[in-house]
C-alpha cells in the first residue's frame, strides 16, 4: 500500500493522503520547540525557539556554545519557559472515579504537549534530559560546576517526555515529520521525509511549484548570499551558514568579550542572536504550518482514549517529582526494562487495532494482508450451542473481496455500534464465490470473490434470543477483524527486589564487582596522546 501510495504521489506531483482521520492528539496550545546544536560538539546547544504562541516565540541563543556557563544559562532559559507551562497543567486536575482495580484518583485534566520538528530533534531532547537531570545545582556547595536550580528538574521532565515518546501512540512529545508522514505519503524516500521543509512542500506545495520542485527548492535552493532558502529544521545547522556567517560572528563576540568591551560584546551577541533567529524562524513557521495541516483532519475516534493514557503518564511523573523521588536512573533495571517493553508492545498492538477501526484506509491495509474482511451479509442461519442452556450461536455468511488468512476456528472480532467491547466470532469456512456472484461488482473494482462464514460467539446478551441489533441482517455491511480490538497486557512481572538469579538478582545486591558498564573506562596510554 505504501509503495503504491508513493508511486501515486510521484505521478501526481504531490503527497497523497495516508489517513482519512487524524490519529494523533493535538493540544489546544502545544509547546513548539525548535532546537539547534553546534556543529562538531555533541549536545552543545546553539539556540532554540520555544513557546506556545506562534507569533511570539521565545528565542534562546548561546553566543559562545563552547562556554559551559552560557550553556547552563541556555538550559535555565529553557526551564523558565517550559516549567511554568508544566506547573500550570500539573495543578489543573479532575477526579477519576474509582474502578474495580483502582481507588479514586486525581488525574490532570490536560497535559502539555511538546512538538519538535523531526526525530533528530526528539533525540536531542532526550540527550538534553540525560545530560541535565543529574547536574548539581548552586544549592549544593560542593558542586564543581553548579547549574541554576531548575535545570535538573527540566532534565527530569524532558527525560520523561522523551521516554514516553517511545511508546507507540503517545502524543506527549511529537516529532512533526513522523506525524506528517503517518497522514500523508510523499513521492520521496523515508529518509528524505525527515526534512521538514521538503515534506511540507510535498504535502502543500508552495504557489507555482509542484511537490518535487518544492522539495528540491527546500532541500538545496540557495539564495544569492549562498545560504539555504529554507534552513534545515535542525538540530544540525547548514555548514555554509556555520562557516561563512556564524563563525565570524562568534569570533567577533569572543574578541569583544576578551577585550572586556561591554558595548561591543552586547553588539556582537545581538548579531549572533539575529543570525541564529534567521535560521530558526523558517522552521518555527513550518512547524506551525504542519500543525495547521494536521488540524484540518478530523480526529480519529480512539485518539482521546490514547491521550488519556498520556495524561496518566504526565500525572504519574508529576506525582513522582512531588514525592521527592530521585531522577530516573541512568539505566533501566531488568524488571523496568521488561515492563517498558511489554507495555510498548501492548500499546503497539492497541494502536494498530484502533487506527484500523478509526480509519478505512488503515483497515484496507489490514484487509489486504488477510487480517480483516469486510462485505455484505448474504445469509444468517440461526444455530444454538449444545449444553444444558443452549445459547445463540448464529452462522453469518458474507460475500467479501478479502481473503482472510486464517484457519477455520480462528477468532474474529466485530465492532458493534453502542457495544462496549467487540463481538467475538469464530471463522467457520472460506469458500470461493462462484463466478455468477462476482459479476455484480464488475466494472467497479474487484467484486466479492469469497464467501466467508463465521459463527458469532458473543456479544448477544445472555438470553436465549440474541439482543436486538446484535446479529447483522442480510444485506448489512459488516467488517470482521482477526486481531483483537483492545489487546491487553500480559501477566505482571516480579518486583525488582525479586529479580531472579538468571537476571543477575535484585539490582544493587552487590554480588561481586560492579558490571563493566558501571566502572569508568580504564586509563590507557592513548588517553594522553
Amino acid at each position: 500500500m505504501q509503495t503504491l501510495a508513493r508511486a501515486e504521489a510521484v505521478a501526481a506531483g504531490r503527497a497523497v493522503p495516508a489517513a482519512t482521520v487524524r490519529h494523533t492528539h493535538l493540544g489546544e496550545r502545544p509547546v513548539v520547540l525548535v532546537p539547534l546544536t553546534t556543529a562538531g560538539e555533541a549536545g552543545a546547544p546553539l539556540g532554540a525557539m520555544v513557546g506556545t504562541d506562534r507569533d511570539e516565540p521565545t528565542l534562546l541563543v548561546v553566543p559562545q556554545p563552547l562556554d559551559r556557563e552560557l550553556r547552563f544559562g541556555f538550559f535555565a532559559g529553557l526551564a523558565s519557559v517550559l516549567l511554568p507551562v508544566l506547573a500550570e497543567y500539573a495543578d489543573d486536575t479532575e477526579v477519576e472515579p474509582a474502578t474495580r482495580n483502582r481507588e479514586e484518583t486525581e488525574l490532570c485534566a490536560d497535559a502539555p504537549q511538546i512538538v519538535v520538528p523531526n526525530t533528530a530533534a526528539l533525540e536531542y531532547v532526550r540527550l538534553v534530559g540525560r545530560s541535565t537531570r543529574f547536574l548539581r545545582t548552586v544549592e549544593d556547595p560542593d558542586a564543581p560546576h553548579p547549574v541554576p536550580v531548575p535545570v535538573p528538574l527540566l532534565g527530569r521532565w524532558l527525560t520523561h517526555y522523551a521516554e514516553r515518546a517511545r511508546t507507540p501512540g503517545s502524543a506527549l512529545l511529537l516529532a512533526l515529520t513522523s506525524v506528517l508522514t503517518r497522514h500523508w505519503t510523499t513521492g520521496q524516500s523515508a529518509m528524505e521525509d525527515q526534512h521538514l521543509g521538503a515534506l511540507l512542500a510535498w504535502i502543500d506545495p508552495p504557489a507555482g511549484l509542484d511537490g518535487p520542485a518544492g522539495a528540491a527548492r527546500a532541500q538545496t535552493g540557495r539564495g544569492p548570499d549562498g545560504l539555504l532558502l529554507s534552513p534545515p529544521a535542525g538540530p544540525a545547522t547548514d555548514p555554509v551558514f556555520d562557516n561563512r556567517v556564524l563563525a565570524p560572528a562568534l569570533t567577533r563576540y569572543d574578541r569583544a568579550r576578551a577585550a572586556g568591551d561591554g558595548p561591543a560584546t552586547a553588539g556582537a551577541e545581538a548579531e549572533v542572536r539575529r543570525l541564529v533567529a534567521s535560521q530558526l524562524r523558517p522552521t518555527w513557521d513550518d512547524v506551525w504550518r504542519g500543525l495547521d495541516l494536521l488540524r484540518a483532519l478530523p480526529e480519529g475516534g480512539h485518539v482521546a482514549e490514547r491521550w488519556k493514557r498520556d495524561r496518566w503518564s504526565f500525572t504519574g511523573h508529576r506525582d513522582r517529582v512531588r514525592a521527592g523521588e530521585p531522577p530516573q536512573p541512568k539505566r533501566d533495571d531488568a524488571v523496568t526494562a521488561a515492563q517498558k517493553l511489554a507495555g510498548r508492545e501492548t500499546a503497539q498492538a492497541r494502536l494498530m487495532a484502533q487506527e484500523a477501526l478509526d480509519d478505512p484506509l488503515a483497515m484496507a491495509a489490514r484487509r489486504l494482508g488477510g487480517e480483516a474482511f469486510a462485505g455484505t451479509v448474504t445469509g444468517v442461519e440461526m444455530a444454538y450451542s449444545e449444553g444444558r442452556r443452549p445459547m445463540p450461536r448464529p452462522l453469518v455468511t458474507l460475500a467479501t473481496p478479502d481473503l482472510p488468512q486464517a484457519e477455520p476456528g480462528a477468532k474474529a472480532y466485530r465492532a458493534v455500534p453502542g457495544a462496549r467491547s467487540a463481538q467475538t466470532a469464530a471463522l467457520v469456512s472460506v469458500l470461493p464465490l462462484d463466478a455468477g456472484g462476482a459479476e455484480d461488482g464488475a466494472g467497479e473494482g474487484p467484486g466479492p470473490a469469497w464467501s466467508v462464514t463465521v459463527r458469532l460467539t458473543g456479544g448477544m446478551g445472555s438470553g436465549r434470543t440474541p439482543k436486538e441489533g446484535s446479529v447483522p441482517e442480510p444485506g448489512a455491511a459488516v467488517a470482521f477483524t482477526l486481531f483483537e480490538h483492545d489487546p491487553r497486557g500480559g501477566p505482571a512481572l516480579p518486583e525488582a527486589e525479586l529479580t531472579p538469579w538468571t537476571h543477575g538478582g535484585p539490582p544493587g545486591a552487590a554480588t561481586g564487582a560492579p558490571g563493566p558498564a558501571d566502572s569508568p573506562d580504564p586509563v590507557t596510554p592513548e588517553d594522553y596522546l
Binding site: 531488568a334 526494562a337 521488561a338 516480579p494
Partner: protein, 462 residues
Amino acid sequence: MTQSAQPAARPEPPSAGLPDPGGFDPAAAAARATEAILADTLRGTARGVVVDSPPGAGKSTLVVRAARELAAAGEPLMIVAQTNAQVDDLADRLATADPELPVGRLHGSDSPPDPALRRHPSIAASTSVAELRDRPVVIATAAKWAYVRDTEPWRHAIVDEAYQMRSDALLQVAGLFERALFVGDPGQLDPFSVVGAEQWAGLSWDPSASAVVTLLAHNPDLPQHRLPVSWRLPATAAPLVSRAFYPYTPFCSGTGPGERRLAFGVKGDGGGLDRVLDEAAESGWGLLELPPRHTPRTDPEAVRAVARLVRRLLERGGTTWSAPGPGPAPLTASRIAVGTAHRDQAAAVRAALAEAGVDGVAVDTANRLQGREFDVTVVLHPLSGRPDATAFHLETGRLCVLASRHRHACLVVCRAGVPELLDEHPSSEPVRLGVTVKFPDGWEANHAVLAHLAEHRIRWTL
C-alpha cells in the same frame, strides 16, 4: 559462484573437535554428551545447565530422558516450552515413553490442549496449577507459567527452545524454579519484538535478547554442553549446515553417506523439474533457478514453480530409505514441506497448491517450521527476486531453519542473481557496545549456502 565473492578475511573455523568421519561412532559420541548433560543436571552443583543442540540432534529425546530421570529421582519438575504445539508434542512424547509417569498439562482457558493427548491416561490437563501440583512433571508454555503465582518453587525446571525464548519471558518464570536445564538451538531464529528495543542494547538483561544470552551474561560459569550429532540431517546436508551456520561448534550427521536414499518410481522426463528432482535425490540438494527479475514478494512465477515442483515430486512416487530404520517408505504429501520467508508467500503457495490439486503438504514460514521435520523440503529462497537484502531477509536463523528441516533432500527455488544482490548489500547493522556479535552473520551464511547450491543448479523457465 566464484571464490572472489567470499569475504577475504574469513575466520577459519577451528578444526579441533570436529568429529572425524572415519572410524567415528556418532551414536557413541551422542551418548557420551547425553551422559555428561544428565550428570550435570542430576548431580551437578550449578543452578543451570545449557545445552546447545543443532537441528535434529535429539533435543526432544534429551528432554524426555532428563524429565524421566529427574522424576525417577523424586525431584519435582516443571517444563517450560514456547508454544502450545511444542508443549503438546512434549507431553505426548513423555507419555509415550513412560505411560506410568503422571504428567500435568497446564494450559490457558483459551488454548485447550490437543485432543489427541486424551489417549494418554497419564496426562491430566488443567488451567489451574494447584490441581496439578502433586504430579511429578508439570508442563506448560512460558506464557502460561508467567501467570503462575504464590506457589512453592519447583526443585527443577527444563526450559525447551531456550534460544527462542525472550529474556523478559524468562524473567517472568525464573522465580518458579531453583535450578534449570536450558535446551535450545542457537542457530535458529532469534526472538524479536514488534517495537524497538535499541535503548537496552548492550545491557546484560536486554528484555528483547534471547533468554540464554541473558542467563550466560549473568552466570558465565554455568556448564555448557552441546549435542554433536544431527540424526535428522542426512550426510549430504550436515556438513553444509554445520559449516555455514555453526562454524565454531561443528556437528556431523548420524547417518553415513548412502545410508539415506530417495528414489522415484517414475523415471524423469528430462524436463527442468525432473532434472532438479533427480539432482536432489542424488545429492540431497537441488536449486531450481528461474531467470533473474525483480518481483513482488509473492512472485507469481516462483510460486507456480514451487507448486509444480511439489506436484511433480508427488507424481513421481518417491520412496525413501532411512537408515537405521526398517525398509523403504513411500514419500507422501505429509512428509513434504514448503518453507517461505513471509506469510503472504506461504498463502500464495497454499493457493497455488490447492489449484494444482495437491493436498496435505505443510506450507509455512520459517518461524512456524522451527522444530519440525520432513523428508523433503521445498524452499522459496528469502532473497529470490528482491531488489534489496534487508536484515530480515539476511537473518542467519531464517535460512538455517529453512535449510535444516529435511531428512532426505532440500529443493530451493530462487531467481538468479542473488549472489550479486548479496554483494551489493553488505550487512550494515550497527555494532552496539556490549552486544556479543553473533557468528556467522547472515550475509556470509547466505553466500556459503548459495555457493554450495550452485553445484546442484538447474536453470529453468516456466
